[in-house]
Symmetry: C2
Subunit: 201 residues, 2 copies
DNA sequence: TGCTTTCTGTATCGAACGACACAGAAATGG
DNA sequence: CCATTTCTGTGTCGTTCGATACAGAAAGCA
């Protein structure tokens, strides 16, 4: 009963992927509807019929980004055998992810809308919430290590997570400024040099 | 011969300061001419007569930012008695500067235009150049310490500078997301925990 | 007091913005 | 084949963008 009428002439998922790449490159406000329709290969009425609005399209794009790009970083955190290799994997996977040839550099969640304007307030809030999940994810992995007796209970889990998340967010700026994967890996190595002092008894 | 004609009815420096604060808060593309004229308390013809264009106004605002906000961070680097306190001062001054009540949070050079669009390409390039000067500044201070025999010659000066600059740039994101000065200081402390491993022989 | 020069306020320019009306095209169900 | 439903392409809506034309106001110089 839902497949009546003229069928959609484009691949919705493919179009969403193109939109994600454009938002990733130009940001939320930087990517115009005209830019998007060209990149997606459709007319604006098709865009609005399929996605509702620019903001709704962006939210779907962010969701797709988290589903496709997120695991490359977060699988390493969850599956690592110990907390140190979890954080090290987090940063090395980030270095790799932020510098892949043919893909926009840096993290879409960090870069696509940092300045809150009247029109982008809700989008900014959603991105901020998304970034806060990064803090929670790292914290959870560290708490797990404390519970397992792997790290001393005296470790300030929130502070350690905030430090490594801050480094990762800084890597988005570095990546946008052209830093190579090697340079990003060097930054990750620098951050891991703080591990023993930060987590020691 | 230049003071003929009707005199300007507003304080150019005061208006520029207001423009800087608005660009700092909303970004280059996020601050419209209409926003700017309201904040500066002048009409748009006065803005164009006094500053030339939106981009020229922004460049003056960035220059003012570097002249007024920069020293709070960089004086600590240049005047510190040793390299470690130079970098520690760099980060603690950053934590303070990025969380001052009544001022926009984070660094204007990092936050005001990260997504390159057709209209903002030259502004983005200028900001990137400005960020690169941060790398050079830190590197120079570290090289000076190596030359003085304070740090071993084996230290990878560029890598250490890149690490600390990356942390500082990440602190801009954290500050925009609402991190308190204490939280930023905690991040700075975390980064300094890497100092001895990074600069040891 | 003119005359020149420069700035201010109103009003507006063409372009681009996000969003959509409308008519025709392309599918299914009867 | 026809009616119904849904999508596509053209064209355009009202708004806002950055940037100015123009006329009048306010100063110095003669």
């Amino acid at each position: 009963m839902a497949d009546r009428g003229r069928p959609r002439s484009f691949d919705r998922n493919a179009a969403l992927t193109r939109a994600m790449e454009l938002f990733w490159t130009k940001g939320y406000e930087g990517a115009s509807i005209s830019d998007l329709t060209v990149a997606m290969g459709i007319g604006s009425p098709s865009l609005y019929a399929a996605f509702g609005s620019k903001e709704a399209l962006f939210r779907e794009a962010i969701e797709l980004y988290g589903r496709t790009e997120g695991p490359q970083i977060w699988d390493a955190v969850e599956n690592a055998p110990d907390a140190r290799s979890a954080v090290a994997g987090f940063l090395t996977a980030t270095a790799h992810s932020f510098s892949r040839p043919g893909k926009p550099r840096g993290c879409m969640v960090v870069l696509s809308q940092l300045n809150t304007t009247e029109a982008s307030a809700s989008v900014c809030a959603a991105l901020r919430e998304n970034r806060a999940q990064g803090q929670s994810g790292l914290e959870a992995r560290l708490r797990q290590a404390v519970a397992a007796g792997e790290l001393p209970a005296s470790v300030d889990v929130g502070a350690v997570a905030a430090f490594y998340l801050t480094v990762q967010q800084g890597m988005s700026i570095q990546a946008r400024d052209g830093a190579s994967e090697d340079k990003l890996l060097s930054v990750a190595k620098g951050a891991m040099a703080a591990w023993e002092p930060l987590t020691g008894p």
